[in-house]
Every structure is written in C-alpha cells, then in structure tokens.
C-alpha cells in the first residue's frame, strides 16, 4: 500500500512539471515573429470558415496570457487544431507516435540486453585487454554523428540492395498478410535501429562498467566474499542489482536522448516518426503541429522518467523509505 501511495504522489508531481513545460513551450513559440496562421492562409484549400474557427480557438486578438489559457484548455480537451494542410493535428500525431515508440523501445531493449553484459565484462576484466578493447569501441561508438552514420548506412543499403532505403513500409504493404507485414516493418527498422543502437550502446556500456566497478569495490561485496560465497553469486546476486539500480534512473534520460537522436535519424531515413514530423512542421512553420508535437515529446519524456522512478521504487527498498 505504501508503494501505491508513493506512485500516486510521484504521478501528481508530474502535473505541475507539465504545466511549466507547456508555458515554456508556448511562450517560445508565440513570442517568435512567425504568424501562426500564415501557412494556413496561404493554403487555398482551406476555407475562410476553418480559418476563422482556428483564429477564435487560438484567441489571437487577445493578450498572450489569455491565449495560453485558451490553448491549454483545448489541449486538455484533446483539440490540437489543424495542420497547415488542414488535417487534424491529433490524427497526425496518433499516426506518428507509435512509430517513434516502436523505434525507441526496440533500441532501449537492445542496448540494455547488450550494454549491461558488456559493462559487466568490462568491470570484471578491468584493465585487461578485453576491457581496453571495449573502451575503445565505446569511444568510437560515441563519436560517430548519428546522421553521418545514417548516411553511411544508406550508401550501404543502396549499394547492396539488402535493405530498403528509408520509410517504414513497402509500397505493397497493404496487400501483405500479417506475417508479411511484420517482416516488412522489421526489414525497414534494421537500419534506423542500428544507428540509434550504436549511438546509445556506448554510453550505456560505460555507465554500467563504472557502476559495476564502484559496486565491486564496496564493503558489502567484500563482506560477501568474506562470507565465502561463490564468485557467481557475488556478481550476479549482490553486485548486479546494485549496479543496475542507478541505471534505471538514467532510463528516463536515455529515452530523452533517443527522442532527440531519433529526430535526425528519422530525417535521414525518411522514417515516419515524431521527430521527422516536428522537423517538417518546424520547416513549414506549422505552429499548431510544432506546439503539439513538442508537448507530446515532453509528455513522453516525463512519462518515461515517471516509469523509471516507479521501477526504481520497486527494485530499491531504500527509495521506499
């Protein structure tokens, strides 16, 4: 029950955070000299009626504080306005969010399942050849600019023809059966996942290695040795959980880093994710879309942090107090 109370408290804490985020985002965008309806006005297929409706929704003739209030009210209601093409922003977002989520979740899953064991190896074989090789590889991995690596992989895809060049689905996707669809998406995901995986694996491996080294040097590990426990039990029971716990807090940050890294990768691979959506929106000065995707990105990040905190609450008895 104690646990439930803590989780509830933590969830309530995120609400003021999101309010501040929305205020910051709103003012950054509104204070720019760009007219939020400029693009919409230029689009001949948008009727005057829709334009007027948008104008009223945003309350553009009112003071900026009132504008924020109006915007926040409609955001909470789920009305995010229309894009410069006249589509509903919410529809567009719902279409893109799952794509970015799939990409980042696969990458997080893969980096953890590879980075954690590699970090443990680096720590156990500290200062040996293996550790040095891993350190060098991780330095290299951290140094490759994601978009540059993406470009190199594109060349590879073009030259070999082994992988589709960008996108998430093939043109005949709709005619495929379930299994075919699954493999088609998987095929398209290989390259973007590879880029983001390399990008975040190195950092994770280093963090895990450093944590593990700290833990292996701790008194409770020395005491566990003095108790005559086997080396396996010392590493996998006593050291591992203690080394992973601080990484759980980082999970939220990792998610943030991935959202950012994904934007460039999505852009190069023409992947239909949130990152590319916001990029395109920014380039077209599509204010409604920018504002909404910025908020959604922040909400995803805050939720990621929230999940990480809750996970830590479950795994670390000390946090529970």
């Amino acid at each position: 029950m104690k646990l439930g109370k803590f989780i509830l408290k933590r969830i309530l804490q995120t609400i003021p955070l999101l309010v501040i985020v929305s205020i910051i985002s709103f003012f950054i965008i509104r204070l720019s000299p760009v007219d939020p309806l400029a693009e919409l006005r230029l689009n001949p297929s948008i009727s005057q009626e829709t334009l007027a409706k948008e104008k009223a929704r945003l309350g553009l003739d009112k003071p900026i504080i009132v504008q924020y209030g109006l915007w926040a009210k409609s955001f909470v209601k789920g009305d995010l306005g229309i894009t410069s093409n006249g589509e509903k922003v919410s529809v567009k977002l719902i279409e893109r969010i799952p794509n970015t989520l799939i990409l980042t979740l696969i990458v997080i899953f893969m980096t953890w399942s590879v980075g954690v064991p590699l970090g443990i190896l680096g720590a156990i074989y500290n200062k040996t050849k293996l550790d040095r090789i891993l350190t060098i590889l991780s330095s290299v991995g951290m140094a490759i600019p994601s978009f540059f690596f993406a470009i190199l992989l594109l060349i590879f895809a073009v030259k070999t023809g082994w992988f589709p060049v960008g996108g998430l689905t093939s043109y005949d996707f709709n005619d495929m059966n379930f299994l075919g669809k699954f493999f088609d998406i998987a095929h398209h995901l290989v390259l973007p996942v590879t880029v983001l995986f390399t990008l975040s694996l190195a950092g994770l491996q280093r963090q895990m290695r450093a944590n593990m080294l700290d833990v292996l040097d701790s008194d409770y590990i020395k005491f566990a040795r003095a108790k005559g426990l086997s080396e396996n039990k010392i590493i996998f029971k006593h050291a591992l959980r203690n080394a992973i716990n601080p990484m759980i807090t980082l999970l939220g940050f990792e998610f943030a880093g991935l959202l950012s890294g994904a934007a460039l990768t999505e852009y190069v691979f023409q992947y239909p994710g949130l990152g590319r959506l916001i990029l395109e929106a920014v380039m077209k000065s599509d204010i409604n879309l920018v504002m909404a995707s910025l908020m959604i990105g922040s909400i995803m990040l805050v939720l990621g942090n929230l999940l990480a905190d809750i996970l830590l609450l479950i795994t670390d008895p000390r946090v529970r107090g």
Partner: protein
C-alpha cells in the same frame, strides 16, 4: 591450544613506482576460546594481517613468504574452493563498518540464509528457525519480524548484531573482528564487545580482535600483540603486558590513554607512522622513539623472548 598460527608472513604491495613491503615477518597465533588483540595505529598492517587469514587481499598485494596454519593445512596454499569453505564457515569476519557491509537490496533474512544454506541437510522451515535462533542469540529485539526488513531500516548497532549473528550461524571457530566498534556510538560499543565476549565464553570461539583502543584490550583480551609499521613489536599475555610493558611504542600508547596520565595534558606520540614507501634505516620506530640510541638502533631489531612468553623487538630493552 593453537588453533591458528601465522608464521613469518611477509606481504608487499605492487605500486606504479615499485614494490613496497607492508608486512615483515608477522607471526601471530590464536588459541582456542581466547581473544587475541592486535593493536596499532591505522595503516600499520593490522587489517592486512587479518585479511591474509581469509586470503581476501587487494589485487596488488602479494604474499611473498610465510604460512598460515589452520587445521594442519596452510591456508595460503588452499584452492579457491577450499578457501570458500573456510570463509564464513570456519573463519568469520566482522567488518569495520556495519553500515555499509550489508547489501542494501536484500533483506536481513536473505543475507543470513546465504550462510545457513551452506548446510544442505536443513529444510526451509528449519533454516528460518535457525535464522530466528541466531538473531535471538545476538539479542536483536523482535527477531521474527527482522527477517523481512532491509538493512537501511536498522541502526548501526543492530546491523553489527546481524553481522555477528552471521558468524554464529556458521558456527565459526574463529571470528576476525576488524575494529568492530569504531563506527558505532560509545554506548553501543560496550554492548557489542560484551556480546562478543559472551560468544567467546559460550561457544569457545577464538576471536582475533583488531583495534586501536587499548581500553577495550585491557577489558576483554587474553593475549596482546602490538603492531607498528608492518611488524609485531611486542607480544605477551594481557596481565604481563599491562604490568610490564617493554617496547617504547607500547609504552607510548599506554601513556596516551587518558586514565594513565597524571598530567592535565593528554600525552601524544610525536610524528606520524611511516608510510609504506618511506625508507627508514634500522628500527622503523626510531624516528619517533624517545629512547632511541642511534648507535644501536641503526640495525633492525628482531622479536626476542625477554621474559617467558613475552616477546619484544627492541635493542634498548
């Protein structure tokens, strides 16, 4: 009866700028059912000596010569598997800082069970009972409910009791208590020492008590060894030691006890103990020694029996 016998142990540290000896010819024995106190300032090699017994040394420590005889075998020559059977089962450690020595992520019961499980003949129910039993022995209040709580919910003194309970759970013949009370409050210190003394009497356990507190030693020890800069400088039974202190360093330590000074000012020993890499010709204590005579002390003294069963390493005695 000698239960454990350390003979001429030499240990060095490999550093970036060379190899430096840390223990020179340390010899020490532990009798059944007795407390042997190993006294000295921090950094003099007490802990290294103790950790050599269970062969848990830093990676850069090398034992260059010597043997540690326990049950007619040399621990230093034992395999890893044999060592694991000795550690925690035959020879238990009570570490310096109980606050950080228990794994924060596992319950007390879980960590106690790790030792009890080694006895494969017990059923789950019996193991749990055994846990409660040993926690009762160390006088932990409400032991049944303590099994399922985490270390951070216990005070330092209670954690130290849990650690002592682990030593009891394994029915260890020898307990190495490495400054078991330094991290605790004074009142708790006395309780923990009393508990250790009771354990010694009830289970006939031998305890190697590492400390810098001569007060504790006078109250609980049966035999005393004084260490200085990697050497044993004096060794005697307790009464002999306190009645007839011989080595100038031991005398200085005694003089630094508040109870032994008549002056209003507490006496101290001038200077610092030498560090490992410092080179000193002859007696390592000579730079700080009030009785030092440059003509004789230029040669390294060795441990000699001055009166029966009282060993001292000093030219001036």
């Amino acid at each position: 009866m000698k239960l454990l016998d350390i003979k001429n142990l030499n240990l060095s540290f490999k550093m970036e700028n060379g190899v430096f000896p840390a223990l020179y010819d340390v010899s020490l024995s532990l009798n059944k059912g007795e407390i042997h106190a190993l006294v000295g300032e921090s950094g003099c090699g007490k802990t290294m000596t103790a950790m050599s017994i269970i062969k848990l040394l830093p990676k850069n420590a090398i034992i260059t010569s010597g043997e540690i005889i326990y049950n007619d075998t040399d621990i230093l020559k034992s395999s890893d598997k044999e060592l694991r059977n000795i550690r925690g089962s035959k020879i238990a450690l009570i570490p310096q800082d109980p606050m950080t020595s228990l794994n924060p992520l596992y319950t007390i019961g879980n960590q106690l069970l790790e030792i009890i499980e080694k006895d494969k003949s017990l059923t789950k129910e019996e193991m749990r009972e055994k846990c409660i039993e040993v926690l009762e022995l160390v006088k932990l209040p409400d032991p049944k409910n303590k099994l399922d709580i985490y270390p951070h919910e216990l005070s330092g003194g209670m954690k130290q009791r849990v650690i002592i309970a682990m030593a009891l759970a394994s029915k260890a013949e020898i307990i190495i208590a490495d400054e078991p009370t330094t991290a605790l409050d004074v009142t708790i210190q006395a309780q923990i020492m009393k508990l250790l003394n009771e354990i010694k009497k009830e289970f006939n356990t031998s305890i190697l008590l590492i400390t810098h507190d001569l007060g504790l030693v006078g109250e609980y020890a049966d035999e005393i060894s004084v260490m200085y800069s990697g050497r044993i400088v004096e060794n005697a039974r307790k009464d002999e030691f306190f009645n007839n202190t011989l080595h100038p360093y031991s005398k200085a330590l005694m003089g630094a006890l508040p109870a032994n000074t008549n002056d209003k000012i507490l006496k101290t020993i001038d200077g610092q103990p030498p560090n490992l890499q410092e080179e000193i010709i002859g007696c390592r204590f000579s730079p700080r020694c009030e009785d030092c005579d440059i003509t004789v002390c230029q040669e390294l003294p060795c441990l000699k029996e001055k009166t029966p069963n009282h060993f001292v390493s000093c030219h001036k005695v």
